[in-house]
């Protein structure tokens, strides 16, 4: 069988050996927990607690603010200290519920669930919605929305995105190695919703151990297969994953469901399992703390809302100066100006780089070498798009398909002139999107 892959892409140093053999360790937060009300795409959640209230582990503290939204649960027991705007890892200031941890971890009753066999389709989606599960790979799109396409019978693929193509990240890898039954179990829940679908657990071939374990875990599953993908960034991008596994091509005007696909991240799938089978709302996730600047790279089972600076301390702190600390991986993550921010549902990693390639490599003139073209998985001409961006030529930008960019960053990565192509393209994309909303 030919290895599944896509055209374009890059091969950055993956840094996974730093943390791939570190087992998941539960981390108990010490400081205050901060829960931003926007940890997902869609309407912000509405707080249902007030200052001074006592909350328990797994108690709902904010209600979904609409269909495309998601509720938020307390991950510790303690007292609501404040509801006030707080910086998050993206640099934005978001209204947040601050809870003072009393260290007792007193639990609220779980979600009320029926035995799985008795659940209807609506029951399953209802519990997923109620438990606050969103796409935990980074986008944070509410999962119940993804699982409610117009015609569920047309879905023939449910893909579990375990590619983990971002350098340094090992949270999905550890989940597969340590909790394969949850990955398979979560996928079986989703397959229950789509009678005609085949389940695929998609793993890059640089994780042979995980492939072996997952293959063993779904030995007796007739509807589940492990798909081995060629290791290349951005294999875990939704469009590239669908292309590699099914040969179908998605563009910006479509949703995966239009091509009969549902794609969920590995951590999302295990959260679905926790919610539907165990009745546990989403209050924790696996976060990789890694990078050359960290003393002991780790994978933590981290309660949502834990302070990032505290997590880095838990990983032994910095052994050298961290020139850049990133929420997520180095290709698509957000550099943080301050570490006093909370982890959220979409924080898959904190990457602490000992060198800052961006400020260390001065930008020179574009020599038209075409490396960005070869690297672009969307078949675009990033060098030209960046030129149109410099001139704010929105019309030509769109004519050259600029809106198809998925902002994977391959163009900036390969550019020998060190031009911030992805950034320039992102800027114009934001402008076009803002204009469309008008």
């Amino acid at each position: 069988m030919a290895t599944l892959t896509f055209k374009g892409g890059v091969h950055p140093y993956d840094g996974k050996e730093l943390s791939k053999d570190k087992a998941i360790v539960p981390y108990q937060p010490k400081g205050d927990l901060i829960y931003p009300v926007s940890q997902h795409i869609g309407a912000p959640a509405a707080p249902v607690v007030a200052k001074g209230d006592r909350v328990l582990v797994g108690q709902k503290i904010a209600e979904a603010g609409g269909f495309v939204s998601s509720p938020i649960y307390a991950s510790v027991s303690g007292t609501v200290k404040a509801i006030e705007p707080h910086f998050v890892s993206t640099g934005a200031k978001v209204n947040a519920i601050v809870v003072e941890n009393d260290g007792l971890y007193e639990e609220a009753p779980g979600l009320s669930i029926k035995p799985f066999e008795e659940m209807s389709r609506d029951d399953i989606i209802g519990i997923i919605k109620e438990s606050g599960v969103v796409g935990m790979g980074g986008a944070g799109f509410p999962t119940h929305v993804k699982l409610s396409p117009k015609d569920p019978d047309k879905i023939d693929y449910v893909l579990v995105n375990c590619a983990e193509c971002e350098p340094y990240l090992t949270s999905d890898y550890r989940l597969m190695v340590e909790r394969p039954e949850k990955v398979v179990g979560g996928l079986k829940v989703v397959l229950e919703l789509f009678g005609n679908a085949q389940g695929c657990i998609c793993i890059e071939d640089n994780k042979p151990e995980a492939i072996k374990i997952m293959q063993k875990a779904c030995e007796n599953e007739t509807r589940i297969q492990v798909k081995v993908l060629k290791t290349k960034y951005p294999q875990g991008a939704e469009r590239m994953l669908i292309h590699a596994v099914t040969g179908r091509d998605l563009n910006s005007t479509m949703l995966p469901a239009d091509l009969g696909c549902v794609v969920d991240n590995c951590d999302t799938i295990t959260s679905i399992y926790d919610a539907v089978i165990l009745g546990k709302p989403l209050i924790s996730r696996v976060v990789t703390i890694s990078g050359e600047a960290v003393a002991e790279p780790s994978n933590f089972e981290c309660r949502m809302g834990t302070n990032v600076a505290e997590l880095i301390e838990a990983a032994g702190g910095f052994k050298t100066e961290a020139k850049k600390v990133i929420s997520g991986g180095p290709m698509m993550g957000f550099a943080m100006f301050d570490l006093e921010v909370p982890t959220t549902k979409t924080t898959s990693a904190v990457t602490c780089l000992a060198a800052d390639a961006v400020s260390e490599s001065p930008t020179t003139a574009c020599i038209n070498c075409g490396r960005c073209v070869a690297a672009c998985d969307e078949g675009l001409i990033p060098a030209r798009l960046a030129q149109f961006s410099e001139k704010f030529d929105l019309e030509t930008f769109q004519k050259w398909h600029g809106m198809e960019c998925v902002e994977c960053g391959c163009c900036s990565y390969v550019c020998p002139a060190k031009r911030p192509l992805a950034q320039m393209i992102k800027n114009v994309r934001r402008m076009v999107m803002a204009n469309r909303k008008k």
Binding site: V10, P12, G91, R239, H243, D249, L250, N251, M254, K323, K324, I326, P330, M331, M332, F334, A335, M336, F337, D338, L339, L353, D356, A357, V358, S359, S361, T364, A365, C366, I367, N368, C369, G370, V373, D377, E378, G379, L380, I381, A383, R384, Q398, K399, W400, H401, M403, E404, E407, C410, S412, Y413, V414, C415, P416, A417, K418, P420, A422, Q423
Partner: protein, 316 residues
């Protein structure tokens, strides 16, 4: 909040390749042909090459200093231009002519249009054509050592293909410009560039194939293998196809555009060589095609991933 951390837009890592590494690779790849030229044509060839490289670098340095621009001579692009220009001159060229061509190439063709990445025409070829028009006699004086004969292409033009020795042309043991005679030396350099990933086969491949097909159809010699081989090995074709047509700045960036560009180059070179006044045609074909690049790109915008071509052109 005094010690805020450094932020930037993603991605936060960069590949090791830099523009100067790429240019240095091109300079290295030119060396076999340049060294062959010096060995074959003698001391004056070395002087010509040294003058063009030195004057190109100096012109760039002085201009950028005077204009208070950042000095970019460290990026090797002026070195490459100088080397290419020198390799496109006859060994009999006087030093002042080499110097004049270099100043024209860097100052007029490159810097006045905005420097690296902005020139619309290959600077080395711009310099060569400037000299060709200004000093036609000296530029076509291929005499070296005691040899005063014509170039193989001129011989071909006069009569039959029997007059040329293709093997000697492949080795480079013929009259011509300093760096263009040895097919072997040029191909060694080209292989190095292909191996390093600096160039791909799209432009040189389509260029050479199109040219060969054109000559078969319109060369007037039918399926004469010797004639075809001599046309491919002769003149500036090899140097042009592998080192000048592939110049990043002056060739299209769209993959389909590179194919179109190669085809146009092949046809133009064929027309110039078959029907033009001079047996040579490569440099004019390249600089003419350079001018078509923006147009070629406009008509070869690739389809984005997952997009289907609709009637009436590429609309998003």
């Amino acid at each position: 909040m005094s010690d805020l951390r450094k932020v930037s837009s993603s991605p936060h890592i960069r590949d090791k390749a830099t523009s100067s590494n790429i240019m240095r690779d091109v300079a290295i790849a030119l060396l076999p042909a340049a060294v062959f030229g010096v060995v074959h044509f003698g001391m004056n060839a070395l002087i010509v090459l040294l003058v063009t490289v030195a004057v190109c670098v100096a012109t760039e340095y002085i201009y950028e200093k005077l204009m208070h621009k950042p000095v970019t001579v460290g990026d090797f692009s002026a070195v490459v231009t100088g080397l290419l220009l020198g390799m496109n001159l006859p060994c009999s060229a006087p030093w002042w002519m080499a110097a004049l061509g270099s100043v024209f190439a860097i100052l007029v063709v490159k810097q006045l249009f905005g420097g690296l990445g902005q020139n619309f025409m290959n600077p080395a070829l711009g310099g060569r054509c400037f000299l060709m028009i200004s000093f036609a006699g000296r530029m076509t004086n291929y005499a070296y050592d005691t040899f005063t004969g014509a170039t193989p292409l001129a011989v071909l033009r006069e009569g039959e293909s029997a007059g040329v020795d293709v093997l000697q042309m492949v080795i480079g043991n013929t009259a011509g410009m300093i760096g263009e005679t040895s097919v072997i030396a040029i191909l060694i350099g080209a292989a190095y560039l292909l191996w390093r990933g600096v160039i791909d086969l799209r432009i040189p491949g389509t260029y050479l194939v199109t040219f060969a097909v054109f000559m078969l159809l319109f060369g007037g010699h039918g399926f004469d293998g010797t004639y075809l081989a001599a046309q491919l090995a002769g003149g500036g074709l090899m140097l042009g196809a592998w080192f000048m047509a592939t110049d990043y700045v002056t060739s299209p960036i769209t993959p389909a555009g590179q194919i179109v560009y190669g085809v146009i180059l092949g046809i133009l070179t064929g027309i110039f060589r078959c029907f033009g006044a001079s047996p040579e045609g490569v440099s004019y074909a390249i600089i003419f095609s350079n001018l078509l690049v923006p147009l070629i790109e406009r008509f070869t915008i690739p389809m984005a991933f997952g997009k289907v071509k609709v009637k009436g052109g590429n609309r998003s």
